[in-house]
């Protein structure tokens, strides 16, 4: 079925069109809610000179961290990279260009990019290295920094349930950056746990309407836990 059927059946089809030098926006927070199979496909395609926009860059050997191993990433836009030794090494040696961006600013950059807002003022980062070289403005006695929006050639997200129209629902805190990332890609690919029939998702409960999503693929996920904490119960 053509038209609104966005389901693809191979990772090759899911990431078709990705080329060297493109910008990829990835959902996820740490290892939670990351599109594991789509990242593995980028590794397999050996695409280089990528600009990757994601809150974190995975860990050594998992998540976006695997794209560092063959130096596929030219520039990383992220808020926190403390969990990744290879990342820190490439950053300190200058092999990897990094734009450290406050987490809320990063989320808003994606949201704005997807919503057609080219830039926005925020108090976050005023007077810090983040504001260097950026326009600032005083509004009602407070200082703000002008932050440009972000859009990507591709956005890759992880969702819980999808239908063939590309409507998405996320599970628990694996939502995180995924809804904004989904809006900001020219081609947005959702790797999902389950594909359901149209109508099974309650329309008012859909987190990401299908208009933002171009491709859907059913994945299987390791769902690695970064910091496993338990209490006696």
């Amino acid at each position: 079925m053509a038209g609104f059927n966005k389901v693809v059946h191979s990772y090759e089809d899911a990431m078709a069109g990705l080329q060297d030098g493109m910008t990829v926006i990835a959902g996820g927070f740490g290892l939670c809610g990351i599109p594991e199979g789509l990242i593995a496909q980028i590794k397999k395609m050996a695409t280089t000179d990528l600009t990757v926009v994601s809150n974190n860059c995975g860990v050594d050997g998992f998540g976006l961290g695997i794209l560092l191993e063959d130096r596929q990433i030219k520039k990383m836009v992220a808020s926190y990279v403390g969990e990744n030794a290879l990342f820190e090494k490439q950053l300190l040696s200058g092999e990897l260009e990094v734009e450290l961006t406050p987490q809320g600013t990063l989320a808003e950059k994606m949201r704005a990019g997807g919503a057609g807002i080219p830039a926005f003022f925020t108090a976050t980062g005023y007077g810090t290295p983040v504001a260097e070289g950026k326009e600032t403005r005083e509004i009602d006695g407070r200082h703000y920094v002008l932050e440009p929006a972000i859009t990507g050639d591709f956005a890759i997200v992880r969702a819980w349930k999808a239908d063939r129209y590309g409507n998405l629902m996320f599970r628990h805190t694996s939502m995180n950056f995924n809804p904004m990332a989904a809006t900001a890609g020219k081609i947005t690919v959702a790797e999902v746990e389950e594909i359901v029939e149209p109508g099974e998702l309650e329309p008012s409960q859909i987190h990401t309407p299908g208009i933002y999503v171009q491709r859907v693929i059913k994945g299987s996920f390791e769902k690695r836990i970064e910091r496993r904490m338990v209490r006696q119960g």
């Binding site: 927070f29 740490g30 290892l31 939670c32 809610g33 809150n55 992220a78 808020s79 926190y80 990279v81 403390g82 969990e83 820190e88 950053l91 300190l92 990094v98 450290l100 406050p102 987490q103 809320g104 600013t105 990063l106 989320a107 808003e108 994606m110 949201r111 925020t122 108090a123 976050t124 980062g125 005023y126 007077g127 810090t128 290295p129 983040v130 599970r171 628990h172 805190t173 694996s174 939502m175 995180n176 950056f177 995924n178 809804p179 904004m180 987190h207 769902k223 690695r224 836990i225 970064e226 910091r227 496993r228 904490m229 338990v230 209490r231 006696q232 119960g233």
Partner: protein, 219 residues
């Protein structure tokens, strides 16, 4: 004696008020959740998109899709809400979070804070800290008063790249509770057995000491 990490958390918990929405940073701030005073209810916000954070899960409850901003597995309390990162930072930047508690490398007498970067050495990133200090109504910093070499972390001016300007209202260290206003640290309380002189000696920025300074009280 200087306070333990737990005692610093216990003292910070005294800043909590009934009905507060609170964001707790990584490290000592996280421990504050263990000492919420009896009879008051606070709602913990975790900036990855959870309002109403509960304790760590049991083995049976463990779920990789349920984590906090420290990437630890966690639970949600009854009445919790889960949302996107943009929504999460809308509530932070919009001034809806009543109190944020976070750690720091340095704080100065003008309320500037440096907590995210040591040039040429440690690169971790700011995470949500810049948003939190720019957006929360009230900011409490927890840290040791001096570093392991005895150098003060309460300075006239921060030397490291800043996280935010003019935002820190209160500091709880292992030696003292201080308020930051009018370009000075105002000493409010001492850790039990710690003298004003010792605090003075370990505070490099301008310290204002008005009258007798009481010892902290722990229940």
């Amino acid at each position: 004696m200087a306070l333990s990490r737990e005692q610093v958390a216990m003292r910070v918990a005294q800043e909590l008020q009934d009905g507060y929405y609170v964001n707790l940073g990584i490290g000592i701030p996280t421990l504050v959740a263990n000492y919420v005073p009896e009879g008051i209810e606070v709602m913990l916000q975790s900036e990855n998109g959870l309002l109403g954070m509960g304790p760590y899960p049991t083995e049976a409850e463990l779920d990789a899709d349920m984590i906090n901003a420290g990437k630890e597995t966690v639970t949600a309390i009854k009445g919790a809400a889960i949302f996107s990162s943009a929504e999460s930072f809308a509530m932070i930047r919009g001034g809806h979070v009543d109190l944020t508690v976070l750690g720091a490398f340095e704080v100065d007498q003008n309320g500037n804070i440096a907590s995210w970067m040591i040039p040429g050495k440690l690169v971790k990133g700011m995470g949500g800290a810049m948003d939190l200090v720019a957006g929360a109504m009230n900011i409490v910093v927890t840290m040791t008063h001096a570093d392991k070499y005895g150098n003060s972390k309460l300075l006239e001016g921060c030397t490291l790249p800043l996280t935010g300007v003019g935002c820190v209202k209160k500091i709880v260290t292992d030696l003292a509770v201080l308020e930051v206003r009018n370009g000075a640290f105002h000493l409010l309380e001492r850790a039990p057995g710690i003298t004003v002189e010792e605090i003075q000696q370990k505070t490099a920025g301008k310290l204002v000491v008005n009258g007798d300074i009481p010892e902290m009280v722990f229940n």
